[in-house]
Symmetry: C2
Subunit: 424 residues, 2 copies
């Protein structure tokens, strides 16, 4: 046993367990450097050689098993991207607390100085795909057209919300928390009977159906460029007898026309691209009636940084979580008045835990639908996302806005908290 810089312990392979070639001095030095950059997370690393490395001075929260030299080398070259691929392929395993492990490692990567050569290289490598009209369609289909059967296995059953839920009370089920989110949004938008609501990026139509069933709206016009989602949404809407009040439009939000009392977009801004924010503002300027309300719900950042490389490449092409300053480009070009911003970061961590629990109950079916690599890829994505919200590298912002001279805006936000029991 020896020690490097007081934070690492390299244990030699036990006799007879040494496998396909021992770790070289260069690899050992690079691994030490990587663990140093990550701030010596409290983990153990088990190599294919049988050798184990203990990092940090705390009891380990997880054991990272690296099954071959290729996986180690890829990790050393681009830890953010290739760790995901190799985990999916089973060349890396994490035994123990996956969320906690990712939390520790992301925290270290996040701490890379913005202007270091490595950070700049990672940014170039991780640049998002362009969101032209055609590009958006390809990017969205990559993710949302995976198949409704897949998402139905682990999202809430009633409203199929693939966005942050809202937990006004601890211990709520994901079903309750997603309904609470939809009601929270409806109250923020002050939806009233007879309203026309435009929704940009409607998912499987959960908000549209909730508003049509419970808020007496005249019409929800819901835009989406995912064919699979719209097909599902139309079927559910027909089954629930709401087709006269919901119109699904299989088109880009940039082609919206007509006029609405409320404009809402939940979980679409991540796919819009910062360069297109003024164009989104133009769309809202065109369609929102005087006296109308708007709400944008999106993953965001405290400071500008690219999306996690692996998630952007394998899971969400074209995605980018913006800062509030960046998001303001939607509003300030047209002098919309921002009334309210709420950060629901911890609600997304809770939502992801609920999804992860349900996901793990269905891995056999998911393996049959896809394969083991897919099962592992999505586990890593859900766990990594939870870690990002828990550690504060991702935020969830709900922004409410109105026309600049609208003096019918509510004086306080008390109406958002109507019937819920006060904490004792």
């Amino acid at each position: 046993m020896d020690r490097e810089e007081g934070h690492l312990q390299f244990q030699p392979a036990a006799a007879g367990t040494v496998g396909r070639g021992a770790i070289t001095a260069i690899e050992r030095s690079m691994l030490s450097k990587l663990l140093e950059v990550c701030g010596y997370p409290p983990i153990r690393i088990a190599l294919w050689t049988g050798q184990e490395i203990a990092s940090g001075d705390q009891p380990p929260i997880a054991r990272l098993v690296i099954h071959d030299r290729g996986a180690l080398l890829r990790m050393l070259v681009n830890p953010e991207l290739f760790t995901g691929d190799d985990y999916s392929a089973g060349r890396i395993d994490v035994e123990g607390d996956l969320v906690g492990f990712l939390d520790s490692v992301y925290l270290g990567l996040d701490a890379l100085p913005d202007k270091s050569a490595k950070a700049r290289f990672l940014r170039w490598l991780n640049r998002p795909r362009p969101n032209t009209l055609a590009g958006s369609k390809a990017n969205i289909q990559h993710h949302y057209d995976l198949g409704n059967d897949f998402y139905q296995l682990w999202l809430d059953t009633a409203r199929m919300q693939y966005t942050c839920a809202y937990y006004p009370r601890p211990g709520m089920s994901i079903e309750e928390a997603q309904i609470a989110k939809l009601d929270h949004v409806a109250r923020k938008l002050q939806i009233k009977p007879g309203d026309v609501v435009y929704e940009a990026g409607c998912g499987w139509g959960g908000l549209a159906r909730h508003l049509a069933q419970n808020y007496g709206v005249a019409k929800v016009r819901a835009y989406n460029i995912s064919q699979e989602q719209v097909k599902f949404a139309r079927e559910r809407t027909q089954a629930e007898g709401l087709s006269d009040r919901i119109e699904y439009v299989l088109d880009d939000y940039r082609n919206m026309d007509g006029k609405c009392d409320a404009f809402v977009s939940i979980g679409m801004l991540e796919h819009v691209g910062v360069d297109n924010y003024p164009a989104l503002g133009d769309v809202i300027e065109r369609v929102l009636k005087p006296g109308g309300r708007g709400l944008i719900h999106s993953i965001g950042r405290n400071r500008a940084a690219p999306m996690n490389a692996w998630i952007e490449k394998r899971i969400f092409p074209g995605a980018y979580p913006a800062t509030l300053a960046e998001m303001m480009a939607i509003f300030e070009g047209h002098e919309f008045s921002v009334l309210d911003v709420e950060n629901l970061r911890l609600h997304y961590a809770a939502t992801l835990q609920a999804w992860l629990d349900r996901y793990e109950q269905h891995t056999d079916e998911i393996r049959r639908m896809y394969d083991e690599r897919f099962v592992r890829m999505w586990r890593l994505y859900l766990a990594g996302s939870k870690a990002s919200f828990l550690m504060g590298s991702l935020q969830l912002f709900q922004i409410v806005f109105a026309r600049p001279r609208d003096n019918t805006v509510p004086m306080s936000r008390e109406h958002l908290y109507p019937a819920s029991p006060k904490p004792s």
Copy 2:
């Protein structure tokens, strides 16, 4: 009687009333242009010649009396700045609804295209004074060292709050609404017994004394560069027996040191200058403990624009109301997590009306303390500010923030609305 472009009626002077020289064709044409730029507000203009001009197609809400040619010419050259000076000097009068009149005229000036030569010239003319350490001191003393006796005549008596109040219920007195504001701020900051609170720009110490009296804080360290205000605050604090828990520091916020559980700044950011926002972020980064909360309360804008020229020149040198995007420069440099933004624009309009009512009850005393010009200048300032908040050209933002990895932040904002009766 004749008509120009269907929105103006020039009525000739009645026989025998024609005074010091009739209006020239050029002046008439420039005045027509000015009224066109303002969107033909529904007002009447009475000239020193006895001539009257009716603008707009609606019944007039006020009568603008221009007592001499100099006032007319100054108005035509730079309406924003010189109207204020000439109103103060009594060379212009507004008969009828002063707030409504200003609302109409500002609305028109606001509508000037950003890139017009006139708008650019106005921006240059109205560029704010620099907020260096010495410059800030001069700028602040210009306004806040006018004399405590003056502000005591029309602010709330108990807490002397010269910032936006909070009206959770209609019909509250300014005293009640200012206490409600302080409690709203304290709840947003989650102030608890034993906390150390740092306040940047403490006015007459109203928040500091409220927290010391009602929230069991260990210490409020309150910074201010206005000697008059600090003198007053220290006297009140001693009289109320709170001197052991409040330390007033007659110094710039940039010199803050030590550590605090809560950082608060109410109505100072307007005087900080956008260029200094990152430095303000540096100060907060230096002093805020892990797990601490911060709140910044400031006048703002929906889109970037200079301060009203006359107010910046005569009332508030160096002041600038920033947009939310601009304000984010405080937070995003250090990855503070913005938890909550609330826009209290209409509360400031209500606050200004309350101040204006009380101000008008004391004009005789104010005239004795200063002079008629001062009385008129401040009336115009208060009325103009109310008009700006009512018409949405100014906003009031409260921004709550925390450290990025602080998972003790509240899950919802329900705790902000604890005991207040629900509207029926």
